[in-house]
């Protein structure tokens, strides 16, 4: 569907910025080196043949304990882009290791990434370096930890308020 995006990426980035790319079920994807995340993103937005000007989605994946991925970085940041001009789309991955779960922010490139990065930070604990306002967006500020991480206990609750035995009701 959008082989041109993959072709342009391979032609433009020859120093290992694009780790891997492919096409599955009509969807193109590419895995980007963490250090080149914003460079590649900016190129995809500005290249006249690609013009991926529309930010669709950004989220994260926790692959803790997933068979076949023991050596891969624990988290993936997943980015979906669409071109209104050329009507094509692509999915980008960026591996983020557990020891330093951080990646450059995309807010200067697509303003729409703001709340999506806050959500990925809130639920997965991925830090977006340079984000203008990296606060929790869904959970309350008192919440400790990141609930969609695979090592967060499934039913662990952090109540803000509870009835207290012996008080007047």
């Amino acid at each position: 569907m959008a082989q041109i995006i993959l072709d342009r990426l391979t032609a433009q980035f020859t120093a290992g910025e694009v780790i891997e790319l492919g096409s599955a079920l009509g969807n193109e994807w590419a895995r980007i080196k963490r250090e080149s995340w914003t460079t590649v993103a900016k190129f995809l937005r500005d290249d006249p043949a690609l013009k991926l000007e529309m930010f669709i989605d950004l989220t994260a994946v926790d692959r803790l304990g997933l068979r076949g991925y023991e050596d891969a970085p624990r988290f993936d940041v997943v980015l979906h882009l669409y071109s209104v001009s050329h009507k094509h789309r692509i999915r980008l991955y960026c591996g983020v290791p557990e020891e330093d779960p951080s990646v450059e922010t995309l807010v200067p490139i697509w303003a729409g990434a703001d709340w999506f990065e806050r959500e990925a930070y809130d639920l997965y604990g991925v830090r977006f370096k340079g984000h203008p306002d990296l606060r929790r967006i869904l959970m309350y500020p008192e919440f400790v930890g990141h609930p969609l991480r695979k090592d967060y206990p499934k039913e662990k609750r952090q109540p803000l308020v509870r009835r207290q035995a012996g008080t007047r009701e």
């Binding site: 869904l138 959970m139 309350y140 609930p147 967060y152 499934k154 039913e155 662990k156 609750r157 952090q158 109540p159 803000l160 308020v161 509870r162 009835r163 207290q164 035995a165 012996g166 008080t167 007047r168 009701e169």
Partner: protein
């Protein structure tokens, strides 16, 4: 009927007036709200039971309808609204989410609104049929008449009045619907408060 009044206590007369003049505050958070609208609108017409008038200020309401899922984050707001209502006040948990958390079993959802406020009547269903809500309302009216609401019991106990026999056995309250959730932290406290009130 008039003669009965002369022979009954003042409390019974007051409770009779209370049960047919419920002013509800709908705390609507989720899809159960649709069913609530149906109950409140002309087809099922909750007005027939004297509870037609939703007040959107807790200070003017005495019946709190908790309609829908309560998240942990909403807990303080719900508690504050309950505290702002004037006594005596009653609480109905509308649907399984408000009663127990429903099918949500995770980090975000409160396992039942009774974790933060005392609930008088639980309505099961996802969402409940309007008939179930009317059934619950009639059950609540019975409870009000007998002086068995949580808040009525608290007031009576504080003033040293006799509290209903049923109130010192809260786990067996109610003819059809369960009143005390197994995980309600306040149920034993309630029991103790009443035992003290009767001394």
């Amino acid at each position: 009927m008039g003669f009965e009044f002369h022979t009954s206590s003042l409390k019974a007369a007051v409770n009779w007036a209370r049960k047919f003049s419920l002013f509800q505050y709908p705390f609507v958070t989720a899809c159960c709200g649709m069913e609530f609208m149906s109950v409140a609108a002309s087809k099922y017409d909750i007005a027939r039971f004297g509870a037609e008038f939703p007040r959107f200020s807790p200070r003017q309401a005495d019946l709190l309808f908790i309609v829908g899922t309560i998240t942990e984050r909403q807990g303080p707001a719900l508690r504050r609204i309950y505290d702002q209502m004037c006594e005596p006040k009653w609480v109905v948990a509308f649907g399984v989410c408000a009663s127990t958390g429903g099918f949500y079993q995770n980090y975000a959802t409160m396992p039942g609104a009774d974790q933060v406020v005392p609930v008088d009547v639980y309505i099961p269903g996802c969402p409940p049929r309007p008939e179930q809500v009317l059934d619950a309302l009639m059950l609540l009216q019975d409870r009000i008449q007998k002086g068995e609401g949580h808040s009525q019991i608290t007031i009576d106990a504080e003033r040293g009045y006799d509290v209903p026999i049923a109130a010192i056995r809260p786990k067996q309250l109610g003819p059809t619907l369960s009143t005390t959730s197994p995980n309600a932290p306040g149920s034993d406290a309630l029991h103790d408060a009443h035992a003290e009130g009767r001394k």
